[in-house]
């Protein structure tokens, strides 16, 4: 990959790899990573994966708790994965208990709201509406969407934290100066 492509960063994974291969000056490498980070974050918000609650979490991170956001997100995926698995079981059970199913989706939605996972929250709301109407097909469709968003969000956030680690602790100070 040509050096020129370094400046026109998209948020695709290969660009992260290419920046690591280059032995450019440290400042240039850092500012490239910072751009990637900014683009990824912008994408998360523009695509509606995250909302301002995520900003709130970042506000709570400081020197005393430097990995706070990642820790909370990790806990979220721990909870949400368990809930998704339980929902999977509940939805396949016969006869279906829509009350229990709804309770699980409700928990998932609450969990999502803590980190600002907006799209997941929206999909959960739709899912709950189908539970209410005992509409199995609707439930199955919206569950697919929930699972898809869950995977997408997880991947994007993993990339996000990886970039954050690469950029290093000075990132926070630099970002506020931008």
């Amino acid at each position: 990959m040509a050096l020129a492509s370094h400046r026109h960063i998209s948020s695709c994974l290969c660009s992260i790899h290419s920046s690591l291969c280059y032995s450019t000056r440290p400042e240039m490498e850092r500012s490239s990573l910072q751009r990637q980070l900014a683009n990824l974050k912008k994408s998360l918000f523009d695509q509606g994966n995250l909302d301002e609650q995520f900003d709130q979490l970042e506000e709570l991170q400081d020197d005393a708790s430097p990995n706070f956001v990642e820790e909370v997100v990790t806990l979220f995926f721990r909870d949400s994965s368990r809930l998704v698995a339980n929902i999977e079981q509940a939805i396949e059970k016969s006869p279906r208990d829509y009350g229990s199913l709804d309770a699980l989706v409700h928990q998932l939605k609450d969990s999502a709201s803590s980190i600002g996972a907006a799209k997941m929250m929206k999909e959960c709301t739709v899912f709950r509406e189908y539970c209410d109407k005992r509409n199995l097909e609707g439930c199955l469709r919206s569950f697919q969407k929930v699972k898809k968003e869950h995977s997408t969000l997880r991947l994007k956030l993993e990339n996000y934290f990886q970039l954050l680690r690469q950029v290093g602790p000075a990132e926070k100070a630099t970002r506020s100066g931008n």
Binding site: Q53, Q56, L57, E59, L60, V72, D79, S114, S176
Partner: protein, 193 residues
């Protein structure tokens, strides 16, 4: 952020979700130099508060044990398995030794009847989840209602200058954030200051 060694405000946070406990702890510690203890159930909260839970409905069944930890405020989730936040609230308010401790309830659901029930049951505030930094400002007056009121006021004056620089950005951001968060809870804004 340096913790004031003489910090007197001790908050007991109760929530069955580890993620939410982590969040509320950070919110409390970020907004003020609170000392924070977190537990995952109402019964554990009562243990920390020094009450032994008896399985009787009569209030006299709750006998205060040796109170190991001084708690100035309890903040609890509403929906918990076993003892709900409301149950915990009632037990605290029915105890002669604990009834003056302010209790705040958190819930992800905006249900007016639930909110009223909690407030009528003696809760000072009702926070909608996800709890925000701006919500933490609503705790201040309730902490001051507790013991050591004069000492707390002195500490506030001493610390406000020390913490000014590090908290400045956070306070400014709070102002910005509070504008957007107010809208979420505007229909039942229950500020009891």
């Amino acid at each position: 952020m340096a913790v004031d060694a003489e910090a007197q405000f001790h908050v007991l946070a109760v929530d069955d979700s580890l993620m939410d406990r982590k969040l509320i702890e950070r919110l409390l510690k970020t907004s003020s130099s609170f000392q924070v203890t977190t537990v995952d159930s109402g019964s554990k909260a009562l243990q920390v508060l020094g009450l032994k839970e008896e399985h009787q409905t009569s209030t006299s069944a709750l006998s205060p044990q040796h109170n190991e930890i001084e708690v100035n405020l309890v903040i609890t989730d509403y929906c918990m398995p076993g003892m709900t936040g409301y149950d915990l609230l009632k037990k605290i308010k029915e105890s002669s030794s604990l009834k003056d401790i302010p209790v705040v309830i958190m819930s992800s659901e905006n249900v007016p009847s639930r909110i009223n029930r909690c407030l009528e049951g003696g809760a000072e505030e009702f926070f909608l989840k996800p709890v925000q930094l701006s919500d933490m400002r609503r705790l201040g007056p309730h902490i001051l209602k507790g013991k050591h009121k004069e000492q707390q006021q002195l500490h506030q004056e001493e610390n406000s200058n020390n913490n000014n620089m590090s908290n400045k950005r956070k306070v400014m951001d709070e102002e910005i954030l509070s504008e957007s968060t107010r809208l979420r809870f505007s229909s039942s804004s229950l500020n009891l200051i």
